[in-house]
């Protein structure tokens, strides 16, 4: 099953469960407080997912490691390489 198919199945399952419960289609008499929460749940979840996404990406950008020493090391190795290669007959 492709990832798209997995997502569609998952959404269809959750969506139909939510619809069935909020419409009372299964003949379930849920207390009013439950229904009050259930009805806007998809919207809440969407907003929560959006916040999670922004928070995660923000955190990862903030903690993105900057390799200063790698750049410095590379620079000095480039000098070393050029010197060594010239010694061995390289014409740059």
């Amino acid at each position: 099953m492709t990832k798209l198919a997995q997502w569609l199945w998952g959404l269809a399952l959750l969506g139909s469960t939510w619809a069935a419960l909020t419409m009372g289609a299964l003949g379930l008499e849920l207390p009013a407080s439950c229904r009050e929460v259930l009805w806007p749940l998809p919207a809440y979840l969407l907003v929560a997912a959006g916040c999670y996404a922004l928070g995660t990406v923000g955190y990862r950008v903030a903690t993105f490691h900057d390799c200063e020493d790698a750049a410095r090391e590379l620079q000095s190795q480039i000098q070393e390489a050029r010197a060594d290669l010239t010694r061995r007959g390289m014409r740059f």
């Binding site: 990832k3 798209l4 950008v61 993105f64 750049a71 590379l74 390489a81 050029r82």
Partner: protein
């Protein structure tokens, strides 16, 4: 007789602490190049240094796509300096794709492991012995360098670039759940037969090609290990990441999402 055996076995075990199988492994580095006249000697020097210091059996296959800047001339000088058993020149007439460059290179590779990397010094060969160690540790089919985990990282990226990178990676992780943290990275070690199999199956180009390799590897149940690497970007100033690139990345990502 006992003393003869002792003198026969102890020098051998001192000389080959890792056993004979380690000696039989050979690592072929595929370096597709286009206009890398400046960087090619440096990357080859660093490769030779890393491999020699670790006593690893290697060869470097340079696949130049008819570079107009004289990369071929520089490659020939390197072949003279280091020997044609270590530096293999396998050029092509004009700029063809990366996938075909790998196929072309592998035809001439005598190693049982293939290392792919960029020739512009953004990938440092010092990580290759770590890739090899990781591969042996977990008997992995693929070892991928990651900029996003451990003490992996980048140099030379501004805030905008970092945001795009992390954002794209987040979307990719959510949609594809690939089991590897850095999908667009191209610094990897593959078992030769694994790379051959994957290239056969992959259809995309550019960044998405590298992503597709990992996704298909997952489908075929290949094991993937990761090693944190540092990515030193010296060419970013030449704006490699335009709107077009982002659009084609998203198109490729959605295609993979819908087809794998």
């Amino acid at each position: 007789m006992a003393s003869k055996e002792a003198s026969r076995t102890s020098p051998r075990s001192r000389r080959e602490p890792e056993g004979r199988t380690a000696r039989q492994d050979k690592y072929s580095v595929l370096l597709p190049t286009y206009n890398e006249r400046e960087n090619l000697p440096l990357i080859v020097w660093l490769l030779v240094k890393s491999f020699s210091e670790s006593g690893i059996n290697y060869e470097i296959i340079i696949i130049d796509d008819g570079s107009p800047d004289g990369t071929r001339d520089v490659a020939e000088q390197l072949e003279k300096i280091y020997g044609s058993d270590k530096i293999l020149l396998r050029p092509r007439e004009k700029k063809l794709g990366l996938g075909t460059a790998y196929i072309h290179g592998m035809k001439h590779a005598t190693g049982n492991y293939i290392i792919i990397m960029d020739a512009d010094l953004s990938h440092h060969p010092k990580f290759i012995p770590e890739f090899i160690r990781k591969q042996k540790e977990g008997n992995f089919d693929i070892v991928s360098g990651t900029r996003y985990k451990g003490n992996g990282g980048v140099y030379g990226w501004d805030l905008k670039r970092k945001i795009i990178s992390r954002g794209a990676n987040f979307i990719t992780q959510v949609l594809l759940r690939p089991g590897a943290s850095d999908l667009t990275g191209s610094f990897r070690l593959y078992r030769k037969e694994v790379l051959q199999k994957l290239i056969e199956k992959c259809v995309s180009k550019g960044y998405v090609f590298q992503m597709e390799m990992i996704v298909r590897a997952r489908q075929l149940n290949y094991t993937i290990g990761e090693v944190p690497i540092s990515f030193v970007d010296r060419v970013y100033g030449e704006s490699k990441l335009g709107g077009n690139e982002i659009v084609s990345f998203l198109k490729g990502l959605l295609t993979l999402f819908a087809t794998t």
